[in-house]
């Protein structure tokens, strides 16, 4: 290959060749700026090598203190608190799923023709979702007092926001041809909704709700931190008095519970909607 040919190729596809002049430095400059920003952020977060080193040593110590896990004879108490946690997740998700169905219908573009209603529903669900369920929990503890009921309300409100958004998106992704087909048989609007749209979204609704039972069991374990019931109260209590062996025992119980719930929910999902249509998360 001779030289003139090479030059013409460079002219043809300049992006394949190394940059020349100032452009060659652009990448380094960008990298430098990113590095500076990264280090600035670290200093804002008060991260130092010394803190990391000392903290890691102490963390290893804590893990050492966790073995062997021990119950101190309070297994029954802990198991009841875990049952409370699971109940909170189940009831919260159930009520949220029921509330989210009409709300998502009002928020879906292809079902609700009135724009402002749609806008209001979608934006309020954004606002509700913006707060973690623990924040809702402190509000509800203020309203209904300490106990798992506050936790249930917190999960309900938070999940209604999330599920409304997910359900509305599922509704907007339905095949319009099917509803047209039902409409063509002379069905009313309500009948079109019931027999044209809902059969398409029911599997998605169910899969999402089941998945949220799972994820709520995880998030409900910490609601006890603010007094909203469940195992979180014991977990935080033992942590605050540095009873690490009991902490490890409670964490083990939680891990086993979550594994059991995950397996149950997977089996249920497969039986209810078939393996192929499981929403991937």
């Amino acid at each position: 290959m001779n030289k003139p040919k090479l030059i013409s190729w460079r002219a043809l596809r300049p992006e394949l060749y190394p940059r020349r002049g100032l452009a060659a430095w652009r990448g380094y400059v960008v990298m430098l700026i990113v590095m500076i920003l990264f280090l600035f952020g670290l200093s804002e977060l008060e991260v130092t090598a010394e803190r990391l080193y000392k903290g890691s040593l102490k963390l290893v110590d804590v893990f050492g203190l966790m073995v062997p896990p021990e119950s101190k004879g309070r297994t029954a108490e802990y198991l009841f608190a875990i049952a409370e946690t699971v109940s909170m997740a189940f009831l919260g998700t159930l009520v949220a799923s029921i509330l989210a169905i009409p709300l998502s219908l009002m928020g879906a573009r292809n079902i609700m023709p009135i724009g402002p209603v749609r806008f209001f529903v979608r934006r309020s669900s954004d606002v509700v979702r913006g707060l973690d369920s623990l924040v809702w929990a402190i509000f509800f503890v203020g309203v209904v007092g300490l106990g798992p009921f506050a936790g249930i309300l917190a999960i309900t409100v938070n999940d209604t926001g999330i599920l409304t958004k997910l359900y509305a998106e599922a509704l907007e992704n339905t095949d319009a041809e099917q509803s047209k087909g039902v409409r063509a048989t002379g069905a009313s609007r309500l009948q079109t909704l019931l027999f044209g749209v809902l059969p398409q979204v029911m599997p998605v609704f169910l899969a999402n709700s089941l998945y949220f039972v799972e994820s709520n069991v995880r998030s409900a374990t910490i609601l006890g931190v603010v007094g909203a019931g469940g195992i979180g109260f014991f977990l935080m209590d033992r942590m605050m008095i540095s009873a690490w062996r009991e902490v490890a025992y409670i964490i083990l119980l939680v891990l086993i519970t979550v594994a059991v719930i995950d397996t149950l929910s997977r089996i249920l999902r497969q039986r209810l909607i078939g393996q192929s249509s499981i929403a991937r998360h």
Binding site: E44, L45, K58, S87, V127, P148, F149, M239
Partner: protein, 308 residues
């Protein structure tokens, strides 16, 4: 006679096929009824099970609708007290009084967002490495897959707040504990999602890189990474959205961010402070969410273009 016989034959045949049709109809009806009663039975059993579950969990969860009804006025008054006194004539002074501690809250909010960003970075970097070890088709040895997957499960099942308390105990109060806690949790969640993506890569491309004599890590970087990068980035951005919310509550246990200010306001019954902080929080969450979904749209869009 012959014609008559033929007629007779026809009639017989017709009769026969009629019986066949009747038989088929009867069979269909039976099958239908059987299936319907089966479905109904399943529905009844399912409904009963759910009812029982609801009953048990209502008792355990101390659900008390009468209590809720009684407390409903408190509900409105609790949230009503959060509404600040604003009048149009003195809007600016009123707003200033509402956000009397605004700069402190803004700094805390900034810290919250930083915690979320750095935790997501930790999650992406370690999840990236873990995904190749945890993907069954890429891992150098099945035992790596097993241990990586179990480690990821552990990291994402233990709640962030529990990690946060552990890290506050060992690294001291402040945002560092929060970054590590959410980072560890993100690593667990992203590592699993990334590994699932990596299990679906096109192995021909991987073999192509391998055949040039590349080492395992080189194969991962040049053979697998280009295929999975858009999905990884998309999941990473979703995680950032989740982490901003998670970072907002870390302050409850002293691990930095705006949660500390929020918890103080709640504990001291400064209701207008609560609403001021919550509004700031919600606005920043919505801004970050829309930014993330905009970037995600671009990332996935570019990927789609490549596919065409």
């Amino acid at each position: 006679m012959v014609a008559d016989n033929a007629h007779h034959q026809d009639a017989l045949q017709l009769n026969h096929s009629l019986t066949n049709a009747a038989l088929a109809r009867q069979r269909f009806n039976e099958a239908f009824m059987h299936r319907r009663s089966q479905l109904r039975r399943q529905w009844v059993i399912g409904a009963l099970l759910i009812m029982i579950l609801i009953g048990i969990s209502s008792v355990i969860g101390e659900v008390n609708l009468v209590h809720l009804w009684d407390r409903l006025p408190r509900f409105t008054s609790y949230f009503g007290r959060m509404v600040p006194e604003l009048s149009w004539a003195t809007l600016w002074p009123d707003l200033a009084r509402w956000y009397w501690n605004g700069w402190v809250w803004l700094a805390a909010l900034w810290q919250t967002i930083l915690i979320a960003i750095y935790a997501t970075l930790i999650g992406i970097v370690f999840g990236y490495i873990a995904s190749f070890l945890g993907a069954r088709n890429l891992s150098p040895h099945p035992s790596y897959t097993f241990f990586t997957r179990r480690l990821m499960e552990l990291a994402r099942t233990v709640p962030e707040l529990v990690f946060a308390v552990l890290f506050v105990y060992s690294f001291g109060l402040g945002p560092l504990a929060g970054v590590l806690a959410i980072g560890l949790h993100s690593m667990g969640a992203l590592g699993k999602l990334f590994a699932d993506v990596a299990e679906n890569v096109d192995l021909e491309q991987v073999k192509g890189v391998r055949s040039t004599g590349a080492s395992w890590s080189q194969t991962m970087v040049f053979g697998v990474t280009p295929q999975v990068l858009p999905d990884y980035l998309s999941y990473g951005l979703l995680r950032l959205e989740i982490n901003v919310r998670a970072a907002s509550i870390l302050g409850f246990v002293g691990a930095g961010g705006i949660g500390q200010e929020l918890y103080t306001a709640v504990k001291s019954f400064n209701h207008t402070d609560i609403s001021a902080i919550v509004i700031m929080l919600i606005i920043s969450v919505i801004i970050i969410d829309s930014f993330c979904s905009w970037v995600r749209g671009r990332v996935i869009g570019r990927d789609n273009l490549k596919a065409i």
